[in-house]
Symmetry: C2
Subunit: 203 residues, 2 copies
């Protein structure tokens, strides 16, 4: 088994945190996006979409997409469950994971990709208006998330889940995207401090 | 149980096709996006993100996000499986479902939302350059999908899955987004004809 990983990118970090929470160790090979290593023909054989991460199983099966890789490990090592428990728990965890991804991580990524000078060679063309319109959408979503975290310890409920992982990664990705969480969102701040203090956050 | 549904929108259609494949019948209530019914305060109580669909269980639990609703029914009625079989099958189905969603349905939706006059009141501001840059990304992805469908009958493998549902909905959504699939993508055309002919496609 081999995990193609990228140290500085948010999606591979989601997998690393997930593996740390499961206490699973997987050999990795670094793909340096700054050196455009994901565009090498060799890597296109591994992942035709030329993105990281990708997990290659011993039989050669290639699993791309962060959440699909996490799903594989959830299936092969169910404890501790990070995709929820039972039909309702799994559905609600998927709901919150998707909200974290589509309404939080994605607009943060859009703000970053369409504004950061380092992305000029990757996001062609950069459209400054996309960054400008993404930032207020993130701020609106953070208010909703703060209201949610007034009711529950973790995003999907009482237990830490993949929704928290995506949320943590999105929070940390706000810095290069030049978005700052309002200081009055106390529940968000309480949650962020707690998930950041878990050993897995260093992954 | 009650499903808040919208007849003309692509995401609610994903759930309707999924339910048709499972032969599950659920009472629905129509939310007319054209009349801005999703912005009514009553509906904000159902789904704080004011989107459709949302499933409300008999105990009042509210499950939003199309794929999370599908996940609930996969858990409560596993046959026929639409999220894959076994750890590898489930991971690969999730991989293809996510590719269909993030690299196909999402850019089609971006082309639609940022160009169609009917969306001027919902996508504020419309950014024409987003529509213009989304269309060639869809065309690139369709080539990759055609190559995949040269190898497999359905998108995730030998069996029909949620990846096919997202793919079918994205294909049909290309028309209002003003994107036309190249006619030389024969495998894509073969697959599209097959999934469109299933009774569930009428849902």
């Amino acid at each position: 088994m081999l995990l193609y990983d990228t140290k500085v990118a948010p999606n591979p970090r989601r997998v690393r945190i997930f593996l740390a929470e499961k206490r699973i160790s997987v050999p990795t090979r670094e793909i340096d996006l700054g050196k455009m290593e994901h565009k090498n023909p060799d890597y296109a054989e591994v992942n035709e979409l030329q993105r990281t991460p990708t997990l290659v199983l011993d039989d050669g099966t290639r699993i791309a997409e962060s959440v699909a890789i996490c799903r594989y490990f959830e299936e092969t090592q169910p404890e501790p469950p990070l995709f929820g428990r039972g039909a309702v728990g799994r559905a609600l965890t998927e709901m919150w994971q998707r909200r974290m991804e589509l309404s939080f991580l994605l607009p943060v990524a859009m703000a970053f990709r369409h504004s950061h000078p380092a992305m000029a060679a990757m996001e062609i063309p950069q459209i400054p208006q996309v960054a400008e319109t993404s930032r207020p959408r993130v701020m609106e979503f953070l208010k909703l998330l703060d209201a949610r975290l007034a009711e529950t310890r973790f995003i999907a409920g009482d237990e830490y889940s993949i929704a928290d992982i995506t949320g943590l990664v999105a929070m940390d990705f706000m810095r290069p995207a030049k978005i700052k969480a309002p200081e009055d969102l106390k529940n968000l701040a309480r949650w962020y401090a707690e998930v950041s203090a878990r050993p897995s956050a260093a992954a």
